[in-house]
Amino acid sequence: MTQRASASLEFAFVCSLSAGLHARPASHLAEAANEFTSECFLTNLRTGSVASLKSVLAIISADVRQSDRCIVRISGADEQAAHATLLRFIEHVLPGFDVPLTVSAISGGGVLPRVLQIADVKCCIGSSVSSGIGQGKVMLLTGLTLPSALSERAIADRDLELGQIKRSIAAVRARIREKLAHSKSSTETAVLQADLAIASDVSLAQKLIEHVSQGKSAGRAVLEAGEFFINLLRRSDSDYIRERALDVEEICLQLLQEIYGVDFQAAPVELREPSVVVAETLAPQQLLGLDRRWLKALVLEHSGATSHAVVLARSLGIPTLVGVRNARLMLSPGQEVVVDAIRGFVVTQLSPAVQRFYEREQRTLALRQEYLPLQTTGPAITSDGRTVEVAANASSYEDLSLAFEHGADGIGLFRTEMAFLRRDHAPSEDEQFAIYSEAARVAHGRPVIIRTFDLGADKAAPYLNLPVEQNPFLGYRGVRIYAEHRELLQAQLRAILRASAFGNIQIMVPMISSLEQVVQFKMEISEAREDLARKRIAFRSDIRIGIMVEVPSAGFILDQLCAEVDFFSLGTNDLNQYFLAADRDNPKVTELSNVLHPGFLRFLKKIVQEIHDAGKWVGMCGEMAAEIRHLPLLVGLGLDEISLPAAGIPAVKSAISRLSAADCERALNEMMACREKAELEELLKQAQPSGSAQPLLSKELVLLGSESKNKEEAMQEIVDAFYIAGRTDDRRRLEEALWSREAGYSTGFGYGFAAPHCKTEAVTADTIGVLKLSRAIEWGSVDSEPVNMIILFAMREPHLANRHMQVFSKLARKLMNEEFRGHLLAIENAHDMATYLAQQLEISLH
């Protein structure tokens, strides 16, 4: 195939590599070519581009794909040897580099709402760390910016700059070689080799020298040469080659660091229109440098949820996704995208269906913001005037914002174990401080009770080396392990104290069974205080200190404990199982581990009484508080606060307002005297508040004149209405439950009606929704007719105990009645519809 040309040797070949002549073979090819002094050029006959075979970047930029015909020309002193070597390499070595192309386009079938699924949108998936939705043009934030102060500095001496370029290249190469020598895996070695090839690239060096010769500073030369190659590589259709742009960026960044020092301050990026900033990672000062008016969302490739920039983005309310793989490649600069940091993806094609979905979504979010607080703000006060604080239990940042969204008066229990588990080292003081101060900030002055770590054999962190135990609940856990892990405790106490400077933070210690433990714990707090005071770090000196009451012995030394602490919180799960000697996870004895035991109620009453007599505060954060039917008992006990998972708060607040404290006290006294469980249950039933916070049907859930265009949109519209009215916090789960029922066969039962339904805990209460369409839509009904009217049944309570099942079945039967259907179709406003249905089903709208 080779032939002698006039001034050079040349040969032709056809590229057989399925991924084309990508970085790895290119770097080996360049290595081979660099063995010779002759000039070696490759011409891609498809594109006409000519590249030096001595430059990896040039070879990659030539974009040689599978089946492309190419010509190699060699001329110079050792051209014969070079020809033989390169020909052998291309014919025999190159085919060994064949790697299948990895497809990096991700489709988000699982997470996409149905409306978007059927619109066939493309998206990149990530994890949301700051909720919200933002739309704007992609702005890639590269590390490749000059130091702000030095960007336009005039250069004094061209040779000096040239020397700096050469020194930097040498230093970067030396550093990569050093890493190569210690490389532990073949993957790492391959990556480093590719990096080394770029750092050694002759084209790159040539470009750099060219720029400096034109009078540019070393830094600017790196910047411009970098941008030149990055743009060249980015234009490729091949994902593999586009990824090399990141390698070039990395090498150029290293060169800049050599020139200006590692921590140079990059010049701020200017935003001039609604923008979505896309970056590998972001420094807090970089984020602060962005114009907030135009910054609509952040997309980061890095996957940390606790980095400073992420914490900052949250506090600024910027929708943020992290862990979006190859975001800088998938998203092109200037491209209009929607960042959905509620569901965790970036939509890259804004078709009319997508635009319509997000217009509706913005409306839904705005309405929920308006509607939800109406239901939940303000304290819960019984009909006879006693205020009960209703707080939330939380274990993460997400729990916190959800808590206050649902009207929590505070955080009654902030569990800190999460940060300690599933990792191989303890969280640092700073990491914990970031979480706790965030909690203080989100709470806006409302109390946040932070419980120090409650770790034990059942919640083991590997670095604690906790022994395996027969019975971890009676073992080495909670406060009992603090003496052995003092450093861990001190770090946490310092973090909590530091956060106390930013809000109403309180400390609570778990598993207290004796006075000595409390005294010791307070000494630990004093030490942490002194430590901070020495370092002149701010904290609140009068921080409130409390204990969990979960070991029965604590309930019998309350006079002593009240002298030492400010508040108490009843951890009823453990307290009950220790009190009744019954394991709640053992099915044989679950019957016995029951908070509705007259003895247990008496015990609780005694505890609350004694704490109040001493003038101290007492709340409850155990599961007993999470079950709404227990509310008359809790109010009857006279608790100052009850703390439960956020979703239940609106219902609990509403129920408290419908209870009388005096009646509850009477009911509790009667229950404490009960001889039989059935009797106690009956009394509890009678003590329930009248009415309901969330009636089966309400006007907000009747939507008339819907403009939905298809089944997916209609279903989404009802689910959104549930969300706005606080009937669900998890739209995706509700939607999936409805669709999984629909997958059996369509719920379109004919006559233009459909009755979608589901049983799911994604709804906060049993609920009926109504949607009447302006234009009939396809539903796949049994009679093949389109649907005008949708009646949706969502059930939360378990089947057999369900109070509303009679209503559901009555409604189902009535829907078979032509006259009833005719009535529904004729009604023109939501209020009349709700009233008519309520009357027909004999239910209350309140």
Binding site: R741, G744, Y745, T747, F749, G750, A755, H757, C758, K759, V782, D783, F793, M795, H799, L800, N802, M805, Q806, F808, S809, K810, A812, R813, K814, L815, M816, N817
Partner: protein, 99 residues
């Protein structure tokens, strides 16, 4: 002619009861005497007694799941159809009732 029927679907919230109502209505227009037991989310309702079943000429099962206490129907002629049939075309179910 007396007929008994059972309706049941997996969720047992809506279709079980819709089918029951529909079968009752169509039976009436055709001049049959029918009693429909629902096996829904509330368990068995309007339970068919031994007497009901003994007197019935046919049993219609409009079900998507197994019928509870199936043994009660031993010795009765059973016409079983998917529940959807009772909503889609109940007349065709009754048309199958040939002695």
């Amino acid at each position: 002619m007396k007929i008994v029927a059972v309706t049941a679907c997996p969720t047992g919230i809506a279709h079980t009861y819709m089918a029951a109502a529909r079968l009752e209505k169509v039976a009436k227009t055709l001049g049959y005497e029918i009693k429909v037991e629902t096996q829904g989310a509330m368990g068995i309702e309007n339970r068919l007694t031994e007497n009901d079943i003994r007197q019935a000429k046919f049993a219609i099962f409009a079900v998507d799941i197994a019928v509870e206490e199936r043994e009660r129907f031993n010795g009765v002629k059973v016409i079983q159809v998917p529940l959807q049939e009772a909503l889609k075309d109940p007349h065709s179910i009754f048309a199958k009732l040939q002695p």
